[in-house]
Subunit: 333 residues, 4 copies
Amino acid sequence: MIIQLEKDISGHLKDEVLQNINNIGYKTMEVSTQFSDYLVSVGKKEFDIRKIGNLPGVRDVHRVSDAYKLVSRKWKVQPTEIDLGDGVKIFRGGMALMAGPCSIEGEGQVEKTVEHLLKNNIKIMRGGVYKPRSSPYSFRGLGMDGLKMWHSACRPHNIKIITEVMDAEQIEAMYDYVDIYQVGARNAQNFTLLDGLGKVDKPVLLKRGMSGTLDELLQAAEYVFSNGNEKIILCERGIRTYEKAYRNTLDLNAIPILKDKTHLPVVVDPSHGIGLRKYVAPMALAGVMSGADGLLLEVHHEPEKAASDGQQTLDFAEAERLYAKVEKAMGLR
Amino acid sequence: MIIQLEKDISGHLKDEVLQNINNIGYKTMEVSTQFSDYLVSVGKKEFDIRKIGNLPGVRDVHRVSDAYKLVSRKWKVQPTEIDLGDGVKIFRGGMALMAGPCSIEGEGQVEKTVEHLLKNNIKIMRGGVYKPRSSPYSFRGLGMDGLKMWHSACRPHNIKIITEVMDAEQIEAMYDYVDIYQVGARNAQNFTLLDGLGKVDKPVLLKRGMSGTLDELLQAAEYVFSNGNEKIILCERGIRTYEKAYRNTLDLNAIPILKDKTHLPVVVDPSHGIGLRKYVAPMALAGVMSGADGLLLEVHHEPEKAASDGQQTLDFAEAERLYAKVEKAMGLR
Amino acid sequence: MIIQLEKDISGHLKDEVLQNINNIGYKTMEVSTQFSDYLVSVGKKEFDIRKIGNLPGVRDVHRVSDAYKLVSRKWKVQPTEIDLGDGVKIFRGGMALMAGPCSIEGEGQVEKTVEHLLKNNIKIMRGGVYKPRSSPYSFRGLGMDGLKMWHSACRPHNIKIITEVMDAEQIEAMYDYVDIYQVGARNAQNFTLLDGLGKVDKPVLLKRGMSGTLDELLQAAEYVFSNGNEKIILCERGIRTYEKAYRNTLDLNAIPILKDKTHLPVVVDPSHGIGLRKYVAPMALAGVMSGADGLLLEVHHEPEKAASDGQQTLDFAEAERLYAKVEKAMGLR
Amino acid sequence: MIIQLEKDISGHLKDEVLQNINNIGYKTMEVSTQFSDYLVSVGKKEFDIRKIGNLPGVRDVHRVSDAYKLVSRKWKVQPTEIDLGDGVKIFRGGMALMAGPCSIEGEGQVEKTVEHLLKNNIKIMRGGVYKPRSSPYSFRGLGMDGLKMWHSACRPHNIKIITEVMDAEQIEAMYDYVDIYQVGARNAQNFTLLDGLGKVDKPVLLKRGMSGTLDELLQAAEYVFSNGNEKIILCERGIRTYEKAYRNTLDLNAIPILKDKTHLPVVVDPSHGIGLRKYVAPMALAGVMSGADGLLLEVHHEPEKAASDGQQTLDFAEAERLYAKVEKAMGLR
């Protein structure tokens, strides 16, 4: 049950609402976000929700049967729009392109990428400065120095930055330099990190876990929201199956279903999703037609020389052909 | 190694070719199809294939490293076109729509479906008369009587019939009434059935197994081809994963990869693939953009009353909106 | 609902029972097996089963909520014992060892194996004469000639034969030479084959499908039983997962659960299950402790030279060490 | 390549070794653990390792082709023994029982559990004070206060504590109160946490990820080891598959294979593994026979009233019957 309180509810009235819910036998969590205050009450007993809805100071009450509550579309039908400033938005029905390398490697690479983005009117650059790597002996990214350099290159052009945050301790240091915090598949259920990202007011993109269910993804989003941050984007990036003909199994079934279940925007990462360069474009277009609100794409001026994961990375020319097709496909939806 | 012989090669020359291959230590299978004669030789030794290529009576020799040989695009780059007669074709780059109910239920239903297909200029009708059912107590289809009735209704309109064959013994009886034999996911490795379908000259559509790999699907096709039938269509229909938010996980990654690996046409079944009616349309469109050469769609005049599996079946109005979108999407590829 | 009729029920009384069930709105299938006659009625309406139970000629009535009925332990608590004759039985709480090569190769091999079995007091020999192979170019077994030769070698010693049957057409020809028909993982939902095996009176061993659920395995058994054959053995043989460190994922969780759900005996095939020779013994022992009523083991006098799948095959010395451990482990259960 | 240096190697000689490796084109990481100093060099070029082995100050050189190096048994054949003090050890060929509740709930519960452990001569108590929960609205454990209370109850009896650590920031605060840090399945690739646990000198138990490969588990261990901590235990706890008859698929195949690949001890968690109380005992025994060096078991004085996950928890009487069987089974290995 989600209870929206009046903006100016008195402490006294609020206590009375809490008392009433408590009497029913429900546990309540108070949630304050950038946008509103909520009470989320969880319990099993059946009762007439008008008993709460009619209390003074209560604006609205919704019963939500899903395990996730605040991110459910059963409660909030109106889609959530993510505003990154300077007119850059991620929203339902739109197509937010986020392109860039797997890893930020150096100034030259960043400049070339920024140029490519400007040329193609792309407003969001992706890239990694902290890289989760299976092996401790692999390159793990340029870290904060890389992020600052990258930020300096993007800011003059109002290009927004999305990059992975790997643990709660990094959140604060990264804050001034990122526009969207990305949570990777391996951290999809790192609850300390999710709690921490609920306490900042910048957008968070949550990737589905390696073998994450849609329900788990939505509950991860619930962690962020219930800690106070409503600016959440969900991302399908491929799941782990028995099939070894490709790196992951990009699961486009997730797109229409997630969009049915939640008011949050949903994007697709076809690069990691299929993991093979020559198939990224058809999967990206398939993602668009399945209803994605954005795409995360790996591009590099010289994919063969990329510091990491070049095998799924498009070169600039391939990317441009894809952007053009995406734009056309948008006309069809 | 695939060896194409001259059409009019003498028995003597052919024996000499076989002897030469044998001397290298390769085993050879002779394959005669509707279209040509081949020798498929399997072995491990490295040697100069010109030793065989230069023999009299040999038209061409190809080394194929894949486990499947005759269906590989490494050997035959030119796509295989499936000609159903009356101008109906399934081919690479086309969009063969195959629509109809899960089960053939009776004359009224068939007539309504035929009318719907004619109205929408769809040339192939799908439907089941032998239904593979997990439980022995479920409806198992109308059998041959249903097939004959269905055939009578379609023939006057030149509508082609695709339906599932469940074992080798049924092939002959069904022959006069089907245009495409469909092999279901549960029979994806029923090798007796595949052998049998290799011995007829009608097209065969092979569905990927429940948890079939692309390699297994291609080897199933190799069974059909190597028994003498080149008219094969591959079909992605969803795989089994841990996720239970949908019935199967339609795996569109398969489409661009299969089209890269084989010269056979590749189609998608989004109805069984995601298994939930309201998400069939986006997945169908995603399938088109991933490169599919056709779609298998479940439609019914009254899905709620369908004899089987109505939960994934479109009604005629939904289907028509989808056809229109598919046509537009084709303009983008 | 399963209704057991009195042995000598008159046609008139039986019709009356059928009429009564029909009046409730249930559909009924009459099942006659080697051992008894049953009516299996399927429907959704709630009603007092005593209404049927009290009818003249009815011995007993059971409500079974599972999708499978006749194989459910909710109905028949007493375990099913499979009697192969000559004192050889497969039964709950026992340990039926079934050992032999992947493929029957020739007389020398069969004789050596028989000798090994006799020495170790093993009563059932496994082996393949029809081999399901992913590739049409692989060795597909010696067929009926091999089976007859094998049978001649085993009969004088009362060694029982278990071997795979690949389609319904083979059942009759194999009948005189097999003691247990084995259905392989690839045919786990070949319903024509299952129907056919329900019509003979010899035992059937059903392997779980590649990605078969326990429910599907039990329903496959229901096909055999409801066609008239109660002599069924279930076999766990490894499922398909994302993990590639071993060939299949032997799923021992299936053993205690299947034994809880059904009255049929349940055995384990650790050889195919893990697919790697040096790990077969620990998995076999783990299978014993998980509650298996038998083991299928691949043994060969020279595994390195086996015609197929030698990589998971024990040599005689390894096998003997394992038999001794299995015997000890049985003392612990 | 792993290079073990002489204990007293001079800085000059060490630099020379590093220079030599660098000249070959290999990158080197210096690793100092509780027990020794190592150089781990990673590169692709083939060369004669004696070139390094013969340098002054080098004790030994090993080529390790696995992606993991220091945890590989290709390098260190002698098994790693985990000494928890007071004579409590986890080691290859042993059977370390670790029993206790899912969540620490309060003093009464802890006292009852300690009594149960003492009675059964079990030296290690498991329990959660930080609980990873899919939903933010679930009970998340008693935290540090609970841990301290628990520790006070265990210390007088020399009972060792294993409990989950959820992020790197918790490591220091928990240090004085835990004997083994447990890393849960959801954090199996939380590299910040793994790095942090490499910097303490207390043992770490790593659970396999939800859909983690054996290779990933071993590389997670490599993170801990290469950061300086050799005291690592691996734990199989069930993987995610398509099958829904049980909570997870306990994958016992992992046990013999891991023990072949690494010198670290390997334990099994059958409680989470199968997730259903009545099947825990057979799976535990199966785990013992597959070669496990220890078991993690959920026990509670009143499982039906447990704060979390009671459905897989044994009561004390069930647990005692299991301990007795485990002991007998150990006699068989």
